[in-house]
């Protein structure tokens, strides 16, 4: 019974209220009409599939960001949190967030040299670290962001 409730605690840590809220009501959801950059993220193993739309101005400011697609609570919430975070930022700063989220989730530095940001709400994702098989769900949108900004316009797969 002890382990039972401990394990439920872990689960509550993964599915925090904030995550469930963003999963149920994703922000900036839907296709963006005038888009300058986009990328698709596929997690072939669980069927998550997101498309991220960015509008990047001449001065490298992200003036609009949306996503659409379907996925598990973790991937949708992570995408939703992403849109809230990066809207209005410079692409450079957005990539710093990308690197910080990947580091938070995997312990691997995606950027060099690393910059440590205060992740704010994004810290709600940290429960995912205890669930290695779900890390790819949480990073999916972020990898798509990286790909969109670098204009590879590619499909990113997190297998």
């Amino acid at each position: 019974m002890n382990t039972q409730s401990q394990s439920t605690d872990d689960l509550r840590d993964l599915y925090r209220e904030l995550i469930l809220d963003h999963a149920r009501s994703p922000r900036h959801f839907g296709k963006l009409e005038s888009t300058s950059h986009q990328a698709e993220g596929i997690n072939p193993l669980c069927g998550d599939k997101l498309r991220l739309y960015l509008k990047i101005d001449a001065d490298q400011t992200i003036s609009a960001v949306n996503f659409e697609g379907s996925g598990c609570a973790i991937s949708v919430a992570s995408a939703s949190l992403l849109t809230e975070t990066i809207n209005g930022l410079s692409t450079e700063r957005a990539l710093d967030y990308y690197a910080n989220v990947v580091y938070l989730l995997t312990g691997v530095d995606a950027a060099n040299p690393e910059i440590r940001l205060d992740l704010g709400k994004l810290k709600a994702l940290e429960g995912v670290r205890e669930f290695p098989s779900r890390v790819k769900c949480a990073t999916l949108a972020w990898h798509a962001l990286h790909s969109a900004i670098n204009n590879t316009n590619d499909t990113v797969s997190t297998e």
């Binding site: 382990t3 039972q4 394990s7 689960l11 599915y15 469930l20 069927g47 609570a73 669930f131 098989s133």
Partner: protein, 414 residues
């Protein structure tokens, strides 16, 4: 269903369960409840020991040696072939080709049986519920040859329509490739009836038996199919092993698939003579240890008897379906009248992947996602399902644990 005979098989199953070391461990602080055998099954101790003993006492390369170990290895490897021929009632051991799995078996048929003669205008027919392994090889083949891939539809229950298939099977069709049991939905297809129809029109039929062989008695002569394919790792044997049964006259006429050692009689730069069946199709050093293990797995199954296993699983599947259907907001996917081993479902609006994680945290292992059957998911308009699949070692306790864990998932998301 909970009537007279329900007790006995369940008692048997807990005995059988004892033979599987992997089932006796804790996962996340809970006893493992393994409901993912459709993806890959666990091995009885007898299989693990057979592989180990082989490696410790009998290993050498097969077929080519005069020394004692080579002879032992050859005997062990070839006696697995005899056992498998017997298990599926092939008329001759030469009809049993060892491959690396169902996928390899199907690709072999596509490339070696179909490709040399297929041309634009010809057709390959499959169904809408196939595993990717019985779709993509045919798509690739059609791209290579200009032939057309035609797909027989399914209904809401997850069953094919025999009269539609009857209409499809015209003279343009060069092969009909069909699952015996669907891995995503559990549907048992009316393959005997379909083969009867195909026969009258001279159309060869390949059955993908990956999900049938671990659960049902399979008799290739009774089915009268031309090719039958399955994987060792789904029938309590090792990964990296598979079987292609092929009618001797067809195999005889096919060119080899891969070139290499063992599949030749003579090699010279002027020309090469291929070996007899089944060796013509077994290029290179085979997975000797794997087939020794598969032979032991078949022996294990034969000792229990497929009829008994089938009966036990049938009752357990009925129990599971009934228990699941009582859960609030559940949607069962795959509700054909004749099913085996598998139940797919959606729980409320919780993504299957989340269901899987929550169950795993309670020790319950199920599979979630598209199950390598994306067209099925597309048909039902869903990204994937949660799928619980049974094998001989599962019991009602496993089902009860599944149901309890699903209630917990419901609670977290509400």
């Amino acid at each position: 269903m909970t009537g007279r005979s329900a007790k006995k098989p369940t008692a048997d199953a807990s005995d059988w369960r004892g033979s599987f070391p992997a089932l006796h461990q804790e996962i996340n602080g809970h006893p493992l409840v393994y409901l993912d055998s459709a993806a890959s099954s666990q091995q009885p101790a007898a299989v693990i020991a057979a592989v180990q003993t082989y490696q410790e006492c009998s290993h050498a390369n097969v077929h080519r040696g005069v020394h004692t170990l080579s002879h032992r290895a050859t005997e062990a490897y070839e006696s697995a072939r005899d056992r498998i021929a017997d298990f599926i009632n092939a008329s001759n051991r030469t009809e049993i080709v060892f491959t690396s799995g169902t996928t390899d078996s199907i690709n072999l048929v596509a490339q070696s049986f179909c490709r040399p003669t297929l041309k634009p205008g010809d057709r390959i027919v499959i169904s809408h519920l196939e595993h990717h392994s019985n779709i993509v090889p045919w798509q690739m083949l059609c791209e290579q040859t200009g032939a057309e891939l035609v797909v027989a539809s399914i209904d809401e229950s997850g069953q094919v329509d025999v009269s539609e298939i009857t209409d499809l099977l015209d003279e343009r069709v060069k092969l009909f490739a069909l699952a015996h049991v669907s891995n995503a939905l559990g549907t048992v297809l009316p393959v005997k009836e379909i083969i009867g129809i195909a026969k009258t029109r001279g159309i060869p039929v390949l059955l993908d038996g990956a999900q049938a062989v671990p659960h049902l008695p399979v008799d290739v002569q009774d089915l009268d199919c031309d090719f039958y394919t399955f994987s060792g790792h789904k029938m309590f044997g090792p990964t990296g092993t598979g079987v292609l049964f092929g009618r001797e006259s067809l195999l005889e006429a096919m060119p080899p698939y891969q070139g290499g050692g063992d599949m030749i009689l003579e090699v010279s730069f002027e020309g090469t003579t291929y070996n007899d069946l089944p060796y013509k199709f077994e290029a290179g050093t085979p997975n000797i240890a794997g087939f020794v293990g598969l032979g032991a797995a078949v022996k294990y199954l034969q000792c229990i008897g497929m009829q008994r296993i089938c009966q036990h699983e049938k009752e357990l599947l009925e129990y599971m379906t009934m228990q699941l259907s009582e859960i609030q907001d559940i949607r069962l996917i795959g509700t054909a009248a004749n099913k085996a081993s598998v139940q797919s479902f959606m729980l409320a609006d919780i993504h299957p992947h989340d269901v899987g994680t929550i169950l795993d945290h309670q020790g319950v292992a199920i599979r979630t996602g598209h199950h390598c059957a994306m067209p099925v998911m597309e048909y039902f308009g869903i990204p994937g399902t949660a799928r619980a699949s049974l094998a001989l070692y599962n019991t009602r306790d496993d089902v009860d644990a599944l149901v309890a864990a699903l209630h917990a998932a419901h609670k977290i998301f509400s």
